[in-house]
């Protein structure tokens, strides 16, 4: 009878017995004794305790870590936040010049074709939705309990003006789908912009709940990808 090797016994201990090993152990007292010795030692070794860490250890690690995270991270965020409104500013200029609203002005006179205007609108819309998505995601994923929303509040205020401009533009050009979404967003941004910097856990939960109930984050994501593909086909 061929006995089990040390490797076989070890694999068996770690729950990956080779073929027929379990059967052999059942029948062979020698291998069974050898396996018992190995298992006893390894079980003992497992009792080597590590000094306990409390349930809040993960949060402590984060608190110590966060100030040391490289400042590169904001480069994406801040750059987006500061530069993206250019598309909206362009839209505002076009809007104020009456190019998007006054049907009397012919496209050639205005210097911008219908297609160009549509393109500017979609680019501005796309930027706006991407930044709205980030803000909503942060809102939805904040911890429960009382939260500091001062950063989110400032961003909601930034977004509010361009949101209005985009909503009016969409409504006037008969783009009901975009107008409806922007109206939903505007209500959330308005609440957030007017909220105190620190929100009680109840108010925060309510705000989160509203975003979740309306499926707002999902709608924004879907619309962003639609807007992007519309822009590409133009």
């Amino acid at each position: 009878m061929k006995h089990l090797t040390e490797q076989d016994l070890l694999d068996t201990y770690y729950g990956e017995p080779p073929e027929a090993a379990t059967e052999h152990l059942h029948e062979c007292p020698e291998c069974r004794a050898e396996f018992a010795r190995l298992a006893e030692l390894l079980d003992e070794v497992r009792n080597l305790a590590t000094p306990p860490r409390g349930p809040g250890y993960g949060r402590e690690v984060w608190a110590r870590l966060q100030p040391h995270l490289p400042a590169e991270k904001p480069h994406w965020w801040t750059r987006r936040w500061l530069l993206a409104p250019i598309a909206v500013a362009l839209l505002a200029a076009a809007f104020l010049a009456g190019l998007l609203t006054q049907q009397k002005t012919s496209p050639t006179q205005a210097g911008l074709s219908q297609k160009d205007r549509q393109r500017i609108f979609l680019a501005a819309m796309n930027d706006h939705l991407e930044r709205s998505e980030i803000l909503l995601a942060q809102l939805v994923h904040t911890d429960s309990g009382e939260i500091d929303l001062s950063g989110e509040r400032a961003r909601a205020r930034d977004l509010l003006d361009e949101n209005r401009l985009l909503r009016e533009t969409a409504a006037r050009s008969g783009d009901q789908a975009h107008a409806a979404l922007l109206e939903d967003l505007e209500r959330v941004f308005l609440d957030l912009a007017n909220s105190p910097a620190r929100l009680s856990s109840k108010d925060a939960a309510e705000l989160r709940q509203r975003v979740e109930d309306q499926g707002l984050l999902f709608k924004v994501r879907v619309t962003t990808s639609d807007t992007r593909s519309q822009g590409k086909t133009l």
Binding site: L42, V45, P51, G58
Partner: protein
């Protein structure tokens, strides 16, 4: 709403610190255990957890999602531990049982959550086991700790160590052989 590791890593890659925070809070305990078992020093283990997350954050764009995020973190953490152990070895700082702040193993585990039986048991084991673990090669020790304490399978260990599955399996095997040789006589005497 709970983020999966993959979703949180994706957010972190996009620059959302909250995504990274979720990962830190989720994996800190496991990394501490690994780092502690690798170094036998509480203070070092704390620093290694920080260093691991810092490296992970800087390299988050390299996480491709093929291995789980936990496996990826273990790999970074093992490398951090090995770097530290090597640098200590070079400086001649390797000391067997007591930690560098002069605390004995007993002091260190004498914290809330430890029953007297548990304490006696684990300090007795530690007294025998820690020197034995230190006699393993870096690769053997890492492979054994991952297999035995963290429940990793051979493929995960191979991925963490950056070696072939056969080499990973052999390292665990060699580690167990050496530990048995070291421990079995000592164990008999202690019991």
């Amino acid at each position: 709403m709970e983020w999966t590791d993959a979703a949180a890593a994706e957010e972190a890659r996009k620059g959302n610190q909250h995504g990274f925070r979720v990962l830190v809070e989720r994996h800190s305990h496991a990394l501490f255990r690994l780092a502690y078992r690798m170094t036998g020093n509480e203070h070092d283990a704390e620093d290694l957890v920080q260093e691991t997350f810092l490296r992970a954050y800087k390299q988050i764009h390299r996480f491709d999602g093929r291995a789980g995020f936990g496996t990826w973190l273990y790999r970074i953490c093992s490398n951090c531990c090995l770097d530290l152990l090597r640098s200590k070895k070079n400086k001649g700082e390797m000391q067997p049982a007591a930690s560098e702040d002069g605390q004995s193993w007993l002091d260190r585990v004498a914290a809330p959550g430890f029953t007297p039986e548990r304490l006696a048991e684990s300090s007795q084991i530690a007294g025998i086991l820690e020197p034995a673990l230190k006699k393993l090669t870096d690769m053997e020790r890492t492979a054994f700790i991952l297999r035995h304490y963290e429940g990793c399978d051979i493929d995960q260990i191979a991925c963490i160590l950056g070696v072939h599955a056969n080499a990973a399996k052999h390292s665990v095997f060699r580690a167990v052989q050496k530990l048995r040789r070291e421990l079995q006589p000592a164990w008999g005497a202690a019991q």
